[in-house]
């Protein structure tokens, strides 16, 4: 019974992304299977070398890179959104699977959370 947590808001624009991450990590901490999917402007969470301190925020790069260690099953990014925002293998953090966000994908999950 896997949960999909979707992040579709840009990093640093509000707290929904961070609070979505907290949900995913909490599920993993309680041994509940969870996958993260970044879509829309949310794919920018995956950009390398974020300078979050410039807006007095904390970068989530370290948290995201540790996600598999904490038990998050997979980190996925919507292929179209990556293309739209110019994200590719070179400027995206490693360990991300690109996928097409579609109804068939969502059907794999018993529970889908999107705070946006």
């Amino acid at each position: 019974m896997e949960t999909l947590v979707i992040i579709s808001r840009a990093p640093y624009c509000d707290w929904t992304g961070r609070e979505s991450l907290d949900m995913a990590f909490s599920l993993a901490a309680f041994d509940q299977p969870v996958t993260l999917l970044f879509t829309g402007e949310g794919v920018n969470w995956l950009r390398k070398a974020q300078q979050a301190d410039a807006v007095q925020q904390k970068s989530v790069e370290k948290n995201l890179s540790a996600a598999p260690i904490f038990g998050v099953s997979a980190l996925m990014a919507d292929h179209k959104a990556c293309k739209r925002y110019g994200l590719n293998e070179e400027n995206m953090m490693p360990g991300i699977t690109t996928t097409d966000l579609c109804a068939e994908l969502l059907e794999h999950y018993a529970h889908v959370v999107n705070l946006s």
């Binding site: 707290w15 929904t16 609070e19 907290d22 949900m23 909490s26 599920l27 309680f30 529970h111 705070l115």
Partner: protein, 138 residues
Amino acid sequence: MSPHTPCSFTLVITGAPYSSQAPQTALAFARAVLANGHRIDRVFLYGDGVHLASALTSPPSDEVNWSQAWQDFLESHNIAGFACIASALRRGIVDQSEQQRYELPANNVASPFTIAGLGEWVDSVAHSDRVIYFHGGG
């Protein structure tokens, strides 16, 4: 879902009162859930939704006090209401215990709401038949 098969629900409210419709939509939904013979395991306030747990909400007298309406509903039906601790502390929603821990000048969580961790939500994901979200939008 058959109307004759009782189900258990968890309601997650992420939209704040007076800046979104989420709390009143959720309350109408909650009343309908019980009226149709189903059960509500818990109500979980997350993100901006934690403002619903404030004891200091004071709208004009000709407007509904949604915090009070939710308190009354939870108490009368003996349903647990939780505000996520991380969301709450960020937004200045504090119980007596956290007031002491952070040496703050006041606390403002309205009973029967209590402060709790995301583990309550995880338990709902694992055990409630339906987990329904009420977002603020925008």
